[in-house]
C-alpha cells in the first residue's frame, strides 16, 4: 500500500466545490458550517462527511502587506477565500471518507490545514483511521496526509504489507502470510520510495516477530517491498529460535533476514555467533559466517523425528 501512496500527483490548485444539506455562515465567528451529507471536491481530492466547518483567518491577525514597490512573490501559502476572507482550515466530522487518486481513507474526524496543505485524520480507539490502496491497508492513531505531495506521517501505525510477499509460481505453495508492522511513528517519502518507521518497531510475519527501534522499508517502482532495514538493535523470535544483532536486513524476494553487528542466534540450548547470520524464514535454515558457538544435538532429536 505504501508504494501506491507514493504514486499520485501533488494536489494542484483549483476551486473547492462543496455540497451539503445545509450551510450556515457565522460572520462573527468567521466560520461556515456545512451539515448533512457533506461533499467537498477539489481536483482529485474528494472528502465526504456528516459535518464540515470552514474557518476563516482573522483579518486583524494577518501579516501586514509587503512594503510599497515590492510585488507579491510566488511560493505563497495556499489560501482559500470565502466571504472575502481566507479559509485557513476545514474540519470534517462523522464518517469521514477521503478519496485521492487510487487511495481512499476513512476516519471519524479530519482537519485540513489550507496554508500547510495537510489533512489529519483520526478515529476512535475501536475504529482508528485507515488508508487503503487496493488490497493494502494502513491504519494508526493519527494519519497526516500531505496534500502538496504524496507523503504521509502516521502515529502508531499498523501496516499490513500483503504485496510484500510475491507468490512463487514454481513452488505452487499457498501464498505466505502477510507482513504486519507496528511502530510509534511512520513517515512515507514518495520520491525515495521509502517508509521510515521509528520507535518500538514490531514486524510480524507468520510465527516470526522482529523488534527494532527503527526500520526503513524500501519499495520498487511497481510498489513491491524490496528491503527492510532495521537498525539500532534487532531482536527476532521465530518459535523457539531467537536471533539478535545490531542491524538486520530483510530481503523480501529471498525472504531472508541477515543479521550483522555482533549477531547471535539462540535455538533452544544452541548458541551461534559470527560475523553475519542469514536466517531463511521459510525453511528455518541458518547460515553463519565465521561461526562459533555451542551446539547440543541431543536437544534436537525430537525435531529429527518429526522430519522423518
Amino acid at each position: 500500500m505504501i508504494p501506491l501512496l507514493l504514486a499520485a500527483a501533488a494536489l494542484p490548485p483549483g476551486p473547492l466545490q462543496f455540497r451539503a444539506e445545509g450551510m450556515r455562515y457565522q460572520p462573527n465567528e468567521r466560520r461556515i458550517l456545512l451539515d448533512g451529507d457533506v461533499h467537498l471536491d477539489r481536483q482529485d481530492l474528494a472528502v465526504t462527511s456528516d459535518h464540515a466547518v470552514a474557518e476563516t483567518a482573522d483579518p486583524a491577525k494577518k501579516a501586514p502587506p509587503p512594503p510599497r514597490g515590492k510585488k507579491k512573490k510566488g511560493n505563497q501559502p495556499a489560501q482559500a477565500t470565502l466571504g472575502g476572507q481566507e479559509v485557513e482550515r476545514f474540519t470534517v466530522d462523522g464518517k469521514v471518507h477521503v478519496v485521492r487518486g487510487q487511495r481512499t481513507a476513512d476516519g471519524e474526524h479530519g482537519e485540513m490545514d489550507v496554508p500547510q496543505q495537510t489533512m489529519i485524520l483520526t478515529g476512535t480507539p475501536a475504529q482508528p483511521p485507515v488508508v487503503r490502496d487496493g488490497q493494502e491497508t494502513l491504519s494508526g492513531d493519527r494519519i497526516l496526509m500531505h496534500l502538496d505531495s504524496e507523503d504521509i506521517d502516521v502515529t502508531r501505525p499498523h501496516v499490513v504489507l500483503k504485496r510484500s510477499l510475491p507468490v512463487d509460481d514454481n513452488q505452487k505453495q499457498k501464498p505466505a502470510s502477510p507482513v504486519r508492522i507496528e511502530a510509534q511513528n511512520l513517515v512515507v517519502h514518495k520520491a525515495a520510495r521509502l517508509a521510515k518507521f521509528t520507535d518500538d518497531v514490531v514486524v510480524r510475519r507468520g510465527d516470526t516477530v522482529v523488534k527494532s527501534p527503527k526500520m526503513d522499508a524500501h519499495y520498487d517502482q511497481d510498489g513491491q517491498l524490496t528491503l527492510l532495514q532495521m537498525r539500532g538493535g534487532v531482536d527476532m523470535r521465530q518459535g523457539d529460535r531467537r536471533a539478535v544483532g545490531q542491524s538486520a536486513d530483510y530481503d523480501a524476494k529471498a525472504r531472508t533476514l541477515v543479521l550483522t553487528g555482533d549477531p547471535k542466534v539462540y535455538d533452544r540450548g544452541d548458541v551461534l555467533f559470527g560475523d553475519r547470520i542469514d536466517l531463511y524464514l521459510d525453511s528455518h535454515e541458518v547460515k553463519v559466517d565465521k561461526a562459533k558457538g555451542k551446539l547440543h544435538p541431543e536437544i534436537h532429536k525430537d525435531e529429527e523425528a518429526k522430519l522423518q
Partner: protein
Amino acid sequence: MSQDSVPEGTPDLSLRQVAFARLSEGRMVSRGTAARLDYRRSGGRMDADNGSAQVTPEPGTGLASFGWLRFSAPHVQGEITNRRGTAWGGVDLITQRGDRARTERAEYDGDVVRSNTKVTARGPGYDVQGNGLLARTDGSSISLVKGTRGALEMEAGK
C-alpha cells in the same frame, strides 16, 4: 357616497417616486426608494412597487464586514407595526464588498429573513446556491437550507 368617502381598501396614503431616509443618533442607518408606496393605517400596512433600501450595518455587527447592503424587489408588502413583510418578483441584494444574492421571494418576520425559493449568492471567493434561506437580520447567522452547493476559490499551493 359623499365626496370625501373612498372605496374600502383604498390606502390612507399613496405616494409616487418615494425616497426615504432613516436616521439614528445622527447617523443615516438606512435609505430607500420606491416607484409607488401605499400606506394603510390599519395594521400599519404598506405596499410598494420597485422598492429598494440600503442599510449601513453598525460596526461590530455580523453584517459590518459586508459594508452597506442594498435590497431591491419589484413588489414589497409589509406590516410595519408587526415588523413583518414579504418581497417577491426577484429579490436582489448587493453589498459594498461585492456580494450579490438573488431569490424569487423572501419573507421578513421579526429578526429573521427566510426564503423557500432558490437562492444564489456570489462574492469574493465564493459562489453558492441553496434551495432556501434562513438568516438573522443582525447577520449573526446566514443559512442556506434544503440543499446547498457551491465553490470556494483556492489559491495555488505553497
